[in-house]
Symmetry: C2
C-alpha cells in the first residue's frame, strides 16, 4: 500500500497494461536519448526510485532490454548501458543493413499492394522542416521519420521475420542518432524518394540498388561523427 495514490500521469500512459511494460518503454527512452549515457552503470534501485516503482519490474524490463542489446549484464555486478558502436561495429552494421534492407526494398517492389505503394510514395514526400525547433527535437523528428520510412518498406515487403530482424538492428543505430549531422537531411530525403519511385514502379533491381546506395551514403554522412566522439568503451568518470 501507500504507493498507488498520488502519482497518476507521471510516467504512466493513459492505457496502462502492465507496469513492467511501461517501465520498459521508459528505460528504453532514457537510453535512446542518452539520459542514461552509453557505457554508464545502471543502478537498479536508483532507477526504481526515479521511476517511482519497485525494483522488480525494473529488473524485468532490464532483462528484456538486455536481449534487445541496449544494456549489458555482468553477473553480480549489475547492468551497464551498451557503449556506442565502435568504428568496426558501425561498418559491420551498415554492411548487414545493406544486405537485409536491400533485399527488403526489392521484395517491396515485387510484392507490395497498390495501396502500400501509395503509402510509400506519401511517406517519402514527407519532410522535416530543418529550421524548426531546437536541435534536439529536430534530430528526434528527423530520425523518427527516417525510421518510419525504413520500417514501412519492411512492412510491405511481406516478410514478418525480415521486418523484425531489421527493427532489431535499428536499435543499435539509434544510439548514434544524436550525433547525426542534420545537414545531410536533404540528401536523405531525395534518396528516399528515389527508393520510393523504384518500388512504386515495381522495379526490384532498381529498388535494391537505390536502397544500397542510400545506406552507403548514409554511412558516409555518419562517419565524421566518429572524429568528435569520445572513444567508445571508455569508462567515463565525468568531472
Amino acid at each position: 500500500m501507500a504507493q498507488q495514490a498520488g502519482r497518476e500521469g507521471r510516467l504512466r500512459p493513459a492505457r496502462r497494461l502492465t507496469l513492467a511494460d511501461d517501465v520498459y518503454e521508459s528505460i528504453k527512452t532514457l537510453v535512446m536519448d542518452h539520459i542514461l549515457p552509453p557505457g554508464e552503470r545502471v543502478n537498479i534501485d536508483a532507477l526504481a526510485r526515479e521511476l517511482d516503482v519497485s525494483p522488480t519490474p525494473v529488473r524485468e524490463a532490464l532483462a528484456r532490454l538486455e536481449a534487445d542489446g541496449l544494456v549489458r549484464k555482468r553477473p553480480l555486478s549489475g547492468y551497464t548501458t551498451t557503449p556506442l558502436l565502435s568504428r568496426a561495429e558501425f561498418d559491420d552494421l551498415f554492411e548487414v543493413r545493406q544486405l537485409l534492407e536491400g533485399a527488403t526494398a526489392g521484395r517491396a517492389a515485387t510484392y507490395a499492394s497498390a495501396e502500400a505503394r501509395q503509402r510509400i510514395s506519401v511517406e517519402a514526400a514527407a519532410r522535416i522542416d530543418v529550421e524548426s525547433g531546437d536541435g534536439y527535437r529536430r534530430h528526434a523528428a528527423f530520425t523518427a521519420l527516417d525510421a518510419k520510412f525504413h520500417d514501412l518498406i519492411a512492412e510491405v515487403a511481406g516478410s514478418p521475420l525480415l521486418r523484425d530482424t531489421i527493427t532489431r538492428l535499428h536499435s543499435h543505430l539509434h544510439l548514434h542518432r544524436l550525433y547525426f549531422p542534420i545537414a545531410g537531411a536533404p540528401a536523405t530525403n531525395s534518396e528516399h524518394q528515389r527508393i520510393a519511385a523504384a518500388i512504386v514502379a515495381g522495379d526490384a533491381t532498381a529498388a535494391t540498388e537505390a536502397m544500397r546506395a542510400h545506406l552507403s551514403a548514409a554511412r558516409e554522412r555518419h562517419l565524421p561523427a566518429f572524429d568528435q566522439l569520445p572513444t567508445p568503451g571508455t569508462p567515463r568518470d565525468s568531472a
Copy 2:
C-alpha cells in the same frame, strides 16, 4: 530463509553465477525439448516450484525468453510458449535464412583464415551414427551438429552482427527439430561438405550458391512433417 539448505546440484551447475541465468537455460531447454509443448500456457508459480526457486528469477528469465521469441506474454494473462511455425512462417524463415546464410557462406569463403578453413573442413567431415541411440538422442545429436556447422561458418565470416542475427533465427527453427525426418541426414552431410569445399577453396560465389541450395533442400526435407503435425496454435488439452 529455509530454502538454501538441501537442494544442491538439482538444477544448479557447478559454476553458479546468478540464479536467473540458470533458470533461463533450464526453461529454454524445457521449451526446446517440448517438455513445455508449443502453444501451452506457462504457469509462473508452478514453474518456480518445479525448479525450486522463487518466482522472481523465473519472471526475469521469461522476460528474456520473450525477447528471444520462445514465449509470448499476454498482459495480465500470463505467458505461453510460442506455437510451432505455420507453413507460411516456415517458408518465410527459410527465405530469410537463404539470404543471410548465403551471404555468410560467401563472406566465409573470402575472409576466413587458414586455420578457420581447416576447422570447417573437419567439422563437415563429422557425422552422427544414424543407427546409434534412441530416436530422441539421435535427433538431438544430429541437430546439434547441424547447428554447430552453421554457426561455425557464421563465426568465421567476420561479422558479429550477422552471426547474432542468424543465431536468433535458429531458435525458431529448433522448435521444429523433433519433427525432422532423420532419413535426410546423409544428404545433409554431403551438402555440408560441398559448402565446406567451396569455402576452403575460397570461391565465394560457389559457397553462397551451395549454402542456398542446401537450405532449399533442407526446407524440402522438412515439409512432410507439416502433414503429420497438429495444426499450430491449437490449444491442445491433452488426454
